[in-house]
């Protein structure tokens, strides 16, 4: 075995051993569970598999999950873009505070995030009486689930854009300004094209997380069948009702979305590595 990098001093067998351990770990902890999900989902054959996915509650859960993703991803893409733009291109008081706040959802347990919304917006909560007066139902309804998902998935777009925008600097924007472009033109023709693939990448990760979120959504859902159950919550319910095959069939839907995400992510990384700032 030739050494691709002269700085590596480990002997060949050490490297083979380490790679072997990594691969074995990958197989046991990632590949095997994926295989198990599909195997369990198909234990009773193809027909029951598709039946489980066409069950009204499963379809309702799928629709709700996709609806939440469709609301959350555009909002977080926009907000993430604004935040990243402000942080990367400007120096202002409170900049590091904003940076810390963006990371907050990563630091806080999703269950706590959900609970905070319940305490804030639930009936006995701070804003509860006001909401009741206006007859607005947020907690234990779709708006609450959207809020919780928004919170949990907020950092993805901003975190993807900030390093890239910082690395790109302001030179091109300055040039555009000198050539007479206005603010909007600069943004649409210079800034946005420079970051569009990274924005896509961030949105993709945000969508994947939104689809799979369990903890925060579970707290604010109320678990009403066919109404406030997302796909992950539906999996839990089916499992608890001893419908293991159906539970795994719905889980396989989530796994399928994950695989698609992974494929698109890999494609983006391969084709646009430079634009993504992933060297």
């Amino acid at each position: 075995m030739s050494r691709p990098n002269g700085a590596l001093t480990e002997s060949a067998w050490v490297r083979r051993l380490l790679i072997g351990i990594a691969l074995a770990f990958f197989a046991v902890f990632l590949l095997l569970p994926l295989v198990v999900v599909f195997a369990e989902a198909l234990t009773k054959g193809i027909a029951p598999y598709f039946e489980a996915m066409q069950e009204p509650d499963a379809i309702a859960a799928l629709k709700l999950s996709l609806a939440i993703v469709a609301i959350v991803v555009p909002i977080n893409a926009l907000c993430g873009l604004c935040a990243a733009w402000a942080i990367a291109k400007f120096r202002f008081a409170g900049r590091s505070l904003l940076l810390a706040l963006i990371d907050l959802p990563f630091a806080v347990s999703p269950v706590i995030a959900g609970l905070v919304y319940v305490l804030l917006l639930g009936s006995p909560g701070v804003l509860g009486p006001l909401l009741r007066e206006w007859d607005i139902q947020i907690i234990f309804a779709v708006p609450g689930m959207v809020l919780a998902t928004l919170f949990v998935t907020f950092p993805f777009v901003a975190r993807e854009l900030i390093p890239l925008m910082e690395q790109q600097g302001n030179d091109e924007e300055h040039a555009a300004r000198l050539l007479g472009a206005n603010g909007l033109q600069i943004f649409l023709r210079v800034t946005l094209p420079n970051i569009k693939w990274a924005l896509m990448y961030g949105a993709l990760l945000c969508g994947a997380r939104a689809l799979g979120e369990f903890g925060a959504v579970s707290v604010v859902s109320g678990h009403i069948r066919g109404q406030t159950n997302t796909l992950p919550l539906q999996v839990e319910i089916l499992y608890n009702e001893y419908q293991f095959q159906a539970a795994f069939a719905v889980a396989s839907m989530l796994a399928l979305f994950a695989l698609i995400t992974l494929a698109v992510k890999a494609l983006l990384e391969r084709r646009y590595a430079r634009e993504l700032g992933h060297h």
Partner: protein
């Protein structure tokens, strides 16, 4: 942004597309009633349509009884609650203020249309030789029971064990406490609800004996095969009374009082009692009880009132923060 608007529009349509023709009813229930209420809901929708010509669609939510009560207090818009014990509905009434204080007098038999009891579920062949309550505190026996803070069934479990110890020859408070303390030393995991406990015992294979609802144990036998598990009927157990109530503030706001009231009242009908018995709940109606007598093991039962008083007292003394359960479990 036009693209995202185009994306959002159908989404919003889907979200607002509530079928206007059907009345909707939300039943917030506890854990092991899933199978029973899915059958009852279908029968009730038929009954309501025959009686009024109206379509009614019933949605359900299931979870640990205490947790579900908490959700209703926090604003979950339940038209009716069907929980594991009166204390949880009392909490919705006193803390949440959405159910009338006198709720338990509004329906027959303390608003409890069906009952159950607490039994022991063991693995086939009963390898640890568990016959009755004293066997649960033997060294090396692992006991599965959920967390009384979140689960109604768990509270019945503890009271059944306590009540048995109290009523033994020479039994007293101190002996009962010592027995239950010993019992909880044998509990390796406290799940949040009865169903989660069953999953732990049956699916994950943890523990030698599960203390659980009779209906939950019989369902486990039906789902997983009588060749894998056995029910052990203890010499003495508690009559578990899971009550039902209409949530006044919600039905008045939503205009569903009539259908919600019929929903809980019809639970006492012969047809509903038969569904309850088929789902392993002990029916109240004499005729149905006789028909299904062979299905239920004969166990000597005591009521909560006979041994402990009412749920208000029991909840405060045993299960509130710093109560007997906390003292026991910290040891």
């Amino acid at each position: 942004m036009r693209l995202s608007l185009r994306l959002l529009l159908p989404v919003l349509l889907v979200l607002s597309a509530v079928p206007a023709s059907a009345i909707e009813l939300l039943n917030v229930s506890y854990d092991p009633t899933r199978e029973f209420y899915s059958e009852y809901n279908a029968a009730f929708a038929k009954h309501w349509a025959a009686q009024t010509g109206e379509k009614v669609q019933i949605k359900t939510s299931h979870g640990g009884s205490g947790k579900q009560a908490r959700s209703v207090i926090d604003g979950l818009q339940a038209d009716v609650v069907t929980l594991a014990l009166a204390a949880d509905i009392d909490a919705i009434s006193s803390i949440g203020g959405v159910i009338d204080k006198a709720w338990q007098q509004r329906l027959p038999q303390n608003s409890t249309p069906y009952t159950s009891t607490i039994v022991l579920l063991v693995r086939k062949g009963n390898p640890k030789g568990i016959k009755d309550w004293p066997d649960l505190i033997k060294p090396g026996v692992k006991v599965i029971t959920p967390n009384p803070k979140t689960s109604g069934g768990a509270r019945w479990n503890l009271l059944a064990a306590w009540g048995w110890a109290l009523q033994q020859p020479g039994g007293n408070e101190a002996k009962a406490r010592a027995y239950v303390t010993q019992l909880y030393r044998n509990v390796p995991v406290l799940d949040s609800g009865a169903r989660a406990s069953t999953t732990t015992f049956v699916q994950r294979g943890i523990g030698d004996v599960q203390i659980t609802w009779e209906n939950e144990a019989m369902l486990a036998l039906k789902e997983f095969g009588a060749d894998k598990f056995e029910i052990v009927a203890p010499s003495l157990s508690i009559l578990a009374e899971p009550p039902v109530a209409v949530v006044d503030k919600v039905v008045d706001k939503r205009g569903t009082r009539k259908v919600a009231t019929e929903y809980v009242s019809w639970l006492y009908s012969a047809e509903a009692q038969d569904i309850a018995a088929r789902n392993y709940y002990r029916p109240r109606l004499e005729a149905v009880a006789t028909k299904y007598a062979a299905q239920f093991p004969r166990i000597k039962l005591f009521t909560l009132a006979q041994v402990f008083g009412d749920w208000g007292r029991v909840q405060k003394l045993w299960f509130d923060d710093g109560g007997i359960f906390d003292q026991i479990y910290q040891n």
